[in-house]
């Protein structure tokens, strides 16, 4: 039962990670891509770490693995904010529906 739950969490997390990759490949400009990756990746990692913790049981290693979720939650949010701010301040124009294609 626990093994089945762990496998299910791994697969759901894999779905979110793959959705983030599809967003990075398909979306029209940098801001949209950043939006797709930062959230999908964090949620995917959290779910897959949940699967790993369920598989390995309640040990010190599981505590360290859960600490990884805390770190990545802080790190992905901070990095996405810093990247978006740097792009906006360096003058990268956001894509809008009026234009025909994404700005270079």
């Amino acid at each position: 039962m626990t093994e089945a739950a762990a496998a299910g969490l791994l697969l759901v997390g894999l779905f979110f990670v793959l959705a983030g990759v599809v967003g990075v490949l398909r979306l029209p400009d940098f801001y949209a891509r950043l939006h797709a990756t930062s959230k999908c990746d964090t949620l995917g990692l959290a779910l897959m770490v949940g699967g790993v913790v369920l598989h390995s049981g309640l040990t010190l290693t599981a505590g360290k693995v859960l600490l990884l979720v805390v770190f990545v939650g802080l790190i992905n949010a901070t990095a996405a904010h810093a990247l978006g701010r740097a792009a906006y301040r360096s003058g990268l124009a956001p894509w809008t529906a009026e234009r025909d294609r994404a700005p270079r």
Binding site: L14, V17, V49, V52, A87, S90, L92
Partner: protein, 89 residues
């Protein structure tokens, strides 16, 4: 569970390859940095799953933790650098 871990490892490797396209072909440097951080997150999960597969999870968790902190430092420094005027985007 073992088969599921193997399938997830293969799918994550494929996803890392697809993210590498954005690093190589991204129109701006910010796109390249986004792709690099995406590959970094995936490799943390990959380390955990390889640890389960090899039975050495306690050793590989520490590597994943330190890798996440290194990713933070490198991304913040490069974002600060690219924010400067005069640096090509």
């Amino acid at each position: 569970m073992n088969d599921v871990v193997l399938v997830v490892i293969a799918a994550l490797a494929l996803a890392m390859g697809l993210s590498l396209y954005r690093v190589l072909a991204g129109p701006t440097n910010f796109d390249r940095l986004t792709g690099i951080s995406l590959i970094g997150t995936k490799s943390m999960i990959l380390l955990l799953l390889l640890g389960i597969r090899a039975g050495k999870l306690d050793a590989l968790v520490d590597i994943a933790l330190s890798y996440s902190l290194i990713t933070l430092v490198s991304t913040m420094v490069l974002a600060k650098y690219l924010e400067r005027p005069g640096v090509p985007r």
